[in-house]
């Protein structure tokens, strides 16, 4: 893929938005501003979300996980209404009913962050099925974690997508842990791409901290799917810099490992590759802009009303 300066800056900025949004979310969480206790941040994993979403077309769909702020923002979700959702407000994307774990915007083809690990994989396959049946050139990206891969439904989904040659791209974000379970105790082997062969689909393991590598892999898989070539599986190796959720000190991880992995920060990696594009002045300006976005988002969320009792009992059925 050809990368001009503007494209590089956009990738950087999109990752920065996620990073700063989640840092801000944690701050607000500590201050008791969030309306739910459920909140999982993806700090350290931004390159996967941004790399993949950067090559999605407008009509494409995605499904996401409990750790879904990144996918949501990378796809173009509005940080204001997302913050409002986390604050449990009526102006939030789900009217305060979903919270962090269910952040969603149907208008941008986002079919939902999901609290059941693996639970959304079927939705992705179904969206791809209908895209194919209705002859729309839409591709569905299905993000899931290394934990999701060990759920039976992933295998049922990959098999169905394979037999029916559906336009879906499975993106396994292998951040090495499912809660406290390290990948080497979760599976009999290290590779993700190896699972693709069972389903006769292309599989590719990439460095998930390198946004350009992710982008390239996603581009190929998405265009293949769009062209009728069927599904693919991408294994993006990444790391969550923080605990599984608030209050998880990650005691099950080796501090040395954490240190080593945190050094592989996707923001720094991109900067080091494009020092001229991402010079100090540019990045500082990005920081300023992003900071303002977050302030706005929090202000919007704070100012928004919470749903009343009548709203809670509405829209149970369509």
């Amino acid at each position: 893929m050809v990368q001009d300066a503007q494209a590089i800056l956009k990738l950087y900025r999109d990752m920065l938005i996620i990073r700063r949004a989640e840092e801000r979310i944690l701050e607000e969480l500590m201050q008791g501003k969030l309306a739910s206790t459920m909140c999982h941040v993806s700090i350290g994993q931004e390159a996967v979300a941004v790399g993949v979403c950067s090559v999605m077309a407008e009509q494409d769909y995605l499904t996401s996980t409990h750790r879904g702020h990144g996918h949501f923002l990378a796809r173009g979700g509005d940080v204001k209404r997302m913050m409002a959702e986390l604050f449990g407000k009526e102006t939030g994307y789900c009217r305060g009913r979903g919270g962090s774990m269910h952040i969603t915007d149907a208008k941008i083809g986002h079919l939902g962050a999901n609290g059941i690990v693996g639970g959304h994989i079927g939705i992705a396959v179904g969206a791809a099925l209908w895209s194919k049946m209705s002859r729309r050139p839409a591709v569905t990206v299905c993000f899931f974690g290394d934990g999701g891969l060990t759920q039976g439904i992933f295998h049922e989904a990959a098999n169905m997508a394979s037999v029916w040659k559906l336009p879906v791209v499975f993106v396994c974000e292998n951040n090495q842990y499912a809660m406290s379970l390290p990948w080497n105790k979760a599976a009999g082997q290290t590779s993700i791409q190896a699972y693709a062969s069972s389903y006769a689909m292309p599989g590719l393991d990439v460095d998930g901290q390198d946004v350009l590598a992710v982008q390239q892999a996603a581009y190929e898989a998405i265009e293949r799917a769009r062209g009728g070539g069927g599904p693919s599986l991408i294994g993006a190796y990444t790391y969550r810099f923080l605990g599984h959720s608030r209050g998880d000190p990650s005691k099950y991880r080796d501090p040395e490992e954490e240190k080593r992995e945190r050094a592989r920060d996707p923001l720094l990696i991109l900067r080091s590759k494009y020092p001229d594009v991402l010079d100090d002045r540019t990045t500082a300006q990005a920081e300023t802009e992003v900071k303002a976005m977050m302030d706005d988002a929090v202000a919007f969320a704070e100012a928004s009303p919470i749903a009343g009792a009548s709203a809670v009992f509405s829209e149970i059925y369509a």
Binding site: Y61, T63, G92, Y93, C94, R95, G96, R97, G98, H102, T104, D105, A106, L111, G112, N114, G115, I116, G119, H120, I121, G122, I123, A124, V125, G126, A127, A128, L129, W130, S131, M133, S134, T140, G152, I153, E156, A157, N159, M160, V163, W164, E315, I316, Y317, A318
Partner: protein
């Protein structure tokens, strides 16, 4: 007016909906060339092709999941789970996903999907192929649940289910597929959420649904010889429940028996009995009696199976007891 078997009435509904709306399609195990385990979809493959009559891999969870995803982006899938027992493999997709998507995401998505399945005894199919699990679904906000007992209701309600923009669990009964009944020639749709008085009576109300309707009507007929006039109300829709109709009938007869094939403990009869007992406290002339299966896994031997589920004898005895009921002299205020 023509006679249809239950399975043919269902097929007619599928056929008409697929003709009328390109978004409607069928997916499930052996729904294509095989025509469905109980022959409901016979001929549809030839008519509509593999694209719209999709044989799926043997994977219940993804059958429901894929139907759900398709429904969220514009399709109107009618997915089939061959036996309701196998829905146990897809409960996450049904309950945590399909039922919750509309509400949980603040109304952003509609979920126009129908999950057809069949349940019940009558074939000696054993503990894993004979259960009646409607009360699981009735307990779940966001679902609608239908259980037709006649070809006419099967036809009219399946069409309604396909028109509905919510996930509908459509419970057929394996013992009903060959049963015949009249269905109008003109296409029609029946409303979801309306019970029907299938037999008028004055003395006692038997509330039931699905295959047990036949038993209720048979026993009601026999009871006339004892001078008992039984009203039989068929729920048809199990969620939402049509309490207005139930209450009206119960208010009239003041005696109620609730009958179903599902296990009595925690069955739908409990919900109905509890609600009517509360609403009609002081009005009822006798306690409401529930009849359902014993608290036992279903044995494969057809003869043994019969011992576990309600039969004419048990229903008759229950009605007689309710009719005979004499209030005890209360020993308090």
């Amino acid at each position: 007016m023509a006679e249809y078997r239950y399975r043919d009435a269902l097929r007619r509904a599928l056929y008409e909906e697929m003709k009328a709306d390109e978004r409607v399609f069928i997916m499930g195990e052996d729904v294509g060339a095989y025509g469905g385990a109980y022959q409901v979809t016979v001929g549809l493959l030839a008519e509509f092709g593999e694209e719209r009559v999709r044989d799926t891999p043997l994977s219940e969870a993804i059958i429901v999941g894929a139907a759900l995803g398709a429904a969220m982006v514009g399709g109107r899938p009618v997915a089939e789970i061959m036996y309701v027992d196998f829905a146990a493999l897809a409960m996450d997709q049904i309950v945590n996903q399909a039922a919750k998507i509309h509400y949980m995401f603040g109304g952003q998505f509609r979920v126009p999907m129908v999950l057809r399945t069949q349940q019940g005894t009558g074939r000696g199919a054993g503990a894993q192929h004979s259960q009646s699990l409607e009360s699981w679904f009735v307990h779940v906000p966001g679902l609608k649940v239908i259980a037709p007992a006649t070809p006419r209701d099967a036809y009219g309600l399946l069409r309604a289910a396909i028109h509905d923009d919510n996930p509908v669990i459509f419970l057929e009964h394996k013992g009903l597929y060959a049963v015949k009944g009249e269905v109008e020639d003109e296409p029609f749709v029946l409303p979801i959420g309306q019970a029907e008085v299938k037999r008028q009576g004055q003395d006692v109300t038997i509330i039931t649904y699905s295959r047990m309707l036949g038993l209720a009507l048979e026993v009601a007929e026999q009871l006339t010889s004892q001078g008992v006039s039984a009203e039989v109300v068929d729920l048809r829709t199990l969620k939402p429940l049509d309490y207005a109709t139930l209450e009206e009938s119960a208010r009239k007869t003041r005696r109620v028996v609730v009958l179903h094939e599902a296990v009595k403990i925690g069955g739908l009869g409990a919900e109905i009995s509890a609600e009517l007992s509360q609403r009609l406290f002081g009005v009822l002339a006798a306690p409401i009696v529930r009849i359902g299966a014993e608290d036992v896994p279903l044995p494969a031997n057809l003869e043994l199976e019969k011992l576990v589920i309600p039969d004419a004898q048990r229903l008759t005895a229950a009605v007689e007891a309710v009719m005979r009921y004499q209030p005890m002299p209360t020993n308090g205020a």
